[in-house]
């Protein structure tokens, strides 16, 4: 292999220069199955009780062996350096959308054997989460969180504009445009309130789905960026932003939001409504518990809820020195018992702070059932309680983008296209046509390789 020859060449340079043989350190001991080992990992830190509780449970499951958290999120430089030197970690924790790229390059292994050996019940996971971790019918990661996208509505702004938050929906696009115009406020020539933020580029997959299209075919092999449904979704969302003064003003104003703070855009009435990830509900309960907020499912043009799902997953690198224990470890990490214990720990911690616990949205159906039945208590803020129920219902309509062999390039292609349209350099059809070419070329190359 070429890499080996590079390594040999590098070693040779060393030997010549130092006039001494510097033997490489041997890789750590072979996996014997039940020896006491310490699992290494990348991308995971045990910062909060949700992580720590499950981490302890997973360690107990492989005792007397144990795992050591890496502290710090996934970094490609770190992972690639380790893999290139032939000393990968035992485990890696990363966004599910990245799995496909590493899977197709055989840097992480299929979990088929692992699932079989440890009798992991895949039925406990939500299908959309499993789909996001599956490439070409093979599972490469065990899913963790389940991040939902729902519609968050600022009641104050709606009342002021004479609109009813309860009947607001993203299903009727002309009505959405009209509502956006009503909700947008301009004072002294400056934007004072964004009426409706479609959150593009990042939520384009959601809009495409809502319009009955998709950016990529279900097998993840064909880009569909020129699909009229996609073009239409982009054209519409850009028109929403242009109706509010255009991208530069819009983004500058939005950047000024105190997003995580007490003066966030809901508390200060700077935003009418937007689709957003569910974690933001937790932010709002902490930073401004008194905002008047309505949460509704994001609806497609057919009136049905659509919920775009993302999250992280555990994977096992190729040449993981202790693959067997690693498998056992991630099984415990993601199973319902661990999640429930974690939820209880979080609830206790929140109670100690005098703050409400609004639940965890995990990729594990069984865990969620117990957590929301037994652990989550009413918060005392009916708006938030109702919001949590809405998210739970919306979850049933979850879809995920298929795993892709060139996920990052694919994403860069369509996001660049959206940015070109937003900055007025290209029209939607033209930008997406260019992106389609780039994306398809990247997918073809990645799928043909290896």
């Amino acid at each position: 292999m070429f890499i080996r020859s590079i390594r040999a060449a590098v070693s040779a340079v060393l030997v010549v220069a130092l006039a001494a043989g510097c033997g490489g350190v041997g890789s750590s001991g072979k996996d014997s199955g039940n020896a006491t080992v310490t699992l290494t990992m990348m991308g995971f830190g045990t910062g909060d009780e949700v992580a720590q509780t499950r981490f302890d449970a997973a360690n107990a499951a492989i005792a007397p062996s144990s795992a050591k958290a890496s502290e710090g999120s996934f970094s490609a430089q770190q992972f690639l350096s380790a893999v290139a030197s032939g000393s990968p970690p035992d485990l890696v924790y990363l966004e599910r959308r990245l799995l496909g790229t590493y899977a197709v390059k055989k840097a992480i292994v299929p979990l088929t054997d692992c699932v079989e050996r440890e009798k992991i019940d895949l039925g406990q996971f939500r299908p959309a989460a499993v789909a996001e971790a599956t490439l070409g019918g093979t599972l490469y990661g065990l899913p963790e969180f389940y991040n939902n996208r729902v519609l968050m509505i600022n009641d104050t702004a709606f009342t002021e504009a004479g609109l009813d938050p309860a009947t607001f929906s993203t299903a009727d696009w002309p009505a959405l445009t009209a509502a956006t115009r009503k909700l947008t406020a301009v004072r002294g020539g400056k934007l004072a309130r964004i009426g409706f933020d479609p959150k593009i580029p990042e939520f384009l997959p959601l809009w495409a789905h809502a319009n009955g299209g998709a950016l990529v075919s279900e097998d993840g092999k064909k880009a569909q960026l020129t699909d009229p449904k996609v073009v239409e979704a982009l054209t519409f969302t850009v028109s929403l932003i242009n109706a509010q003064g255009g991208w530069a003003k819009f983004k500058s104003f939005r950047d000024s939001f105190d997003f995580f703070g007490a003066k966030n855009q809901f508390a200060t009435d700077q935003l009418g409504a937007f689709p957003m990830e569910d974690f933001y509900l937790n932010v709002l309960t902490e930073s401004s518990p008194d905002v008047k907020l309505t949460v509704a499912p994001f609806r497609g043009v057919d009136g049905q809820p659509v919920d775009w799902i993302t999250g992280n997953a555990w994977a096992i690198p190729a040449k993981s020195p202790h693959a067997a224990q690693a498998c056992k470890w991630i099984k415990t990490m993601t199973e319902s018992g661990s999640w429930i214990a974690a939820a209880k720990a979080r609830a206790a911690a929140r109670q100690a702070e005098g703050a409400p616990f609004t639940g965890l949205f995990t990729g594990n159906v069984k865990a969620d059932e117990v957590i929301f039945k037994d652990v989550v208590k009413p918060t005392g803020h009916p708006g938030f309680d109702k919001a949590v129920q809405t998210v739970l219902q919306t979850q049933q309509a979850g879809f995920s983008e298929p795993a892709l062999a060139a996920g990052e390039e694919f994403k860069a292609a369509w996001q660049d296209a959206v940015n070109r349209v937003l900055s007025g350099k290209q029209r939607p059809a033209e930008a997406l046509a260019q992106a389609q070419q780039q994306a398809q070329a990247a997918l073809d190359k990645a799928n043909s390789g290896s």
């Binding site: 070693s11 910062g47 502290e71 030197s85 000393s87 995580f260 703070g261 003066k263």
Partner: protein
């Protein structure tokens, strides 16, 4: 240009009341106004940082320079949540090793380039500069492989050891200062029978102390704030340097973007303060160059 005479006894830069006392007063006033105005702009980021680190989470980005609610507990939080002391000690050790190594070795190499005339000099110097021209992203992994072959990939050694061999930036910088030393000083010493090492150690180094201190301070800072190398090389949290540790805190609560900025910024202040002290202690040597040496005779 003609070579200069040996520096005479030089007047200190800030002269006392001179011939044009009134004009000088006015000059002083203009000088102070200009310096103070610039200082406000340059001090702003740090003041903002300190202020933000003393705010509760919901107010971190509220852009007020005086916190509405004070939250000094951020510092207690970071101190108890992470082995900050260990990380600071690691950073001090690594930064001092890196800075000392690079200053000494670069000075030696720089003298080689500044004093001697020898075949291959220009080509060699060009390759010194050339090593700065290739973006590090593509040599990162091959360099990692070398350290891995040496069995030192998971230690702190790669963070400073390459500095033992000099570094292009500092070689170039110190060389520029060595070139400013009047050659007559060296020739005179040669006539007195001094060896090359003595020329370097007794003449070049003392006369160019500011350049050496500057190199030391620059590398201290660069090493102190480097994140990429610790990120790639260090696996064991007990070996982390401060920036690497801060990253783990930044990521800790990072699920879906809930980073605890107030704690991270408190850590940023803790990271910055030792550097400010180090810089303040070193900066007075910047002005003790040839001028002072000359004055001492």
């Amino acid at each position: 240009m003609t070579a200069l005479q040996e520096p005479q006894a030089l007047a200190p830069v800030e002269t006392g009341p001179g011939r044009h006392s009134g004009r000088r007063q006015r000059h002083r006033w203009v000088l102070w106004t200009a310096l103070s105005a610039a200082a406000v702009i340059f001090v702003y980021p740090f003041v903002w940082l300190v202020s933000a680190s003393l705010k509760p989470r919901p107010e971190v980005f509220d852009n007020a320079l005086v916190p509405r609610h004070w939250a000094p507990e951020n510092y207690a939080t970071i101190w108890s949540a992470a082995p900050v002391f260990t990380w600071l000690v690691n950073s001090v050790v690594v930064a001092l090793a890196a800075a000392a190594a690079v200053t000494v070795s670069s000075a030696i190499v720089a003298f080689g380039f500044a004093y001697f005339r020898f075949p291959g000099r220009n080509l060699l110097f060009a390759s010194v500069i050339g090593t700065m021209m290739l973006p590090g992203a593509v040599t990162m992994i091959p360099t990692y492989l070398i350290w891995n072959e040496l069995g030192l990939a998971a230690t702190q050694v790669p963070l400073w050891a390459t500095n033992l061999f000099g570094s292009a930036f500092y070689i170039f910088l110190i060389r520029q200062f060595f070139l400013g030393v009047p050659r007559e000083l060296f020739e005179a010493a040669r006539v007195d029978g001094a060896g090359y090492w003595r020329l370097f150690w007794r003449i070049a180094v003392p006369l160019c102390k500011p350049a050496l201190i500057v190199s030391f301070v620059f590398e201290l800072r660069a090493s102190w704030s480097d994140l990429l190398k610790p990120l790639i090389y260090l696996r064991d949290p007990a070996l982390f340097t401060m920036p690497r540790g801060m990253k783990s805190i930044l990521d800790q609560f990072g699920q879906a973007g809930e980073a605890r900025w107030e704690v991270v910024l408190a850590g940023a202040v803790l990271t910055t303060v030792p550097m400010i002290i180090a810089f303040f202690l070193c900066q007075r040597y910047f002005v003790e160059g040839v001028a002072t040496q000359g004055r001492k005779g």
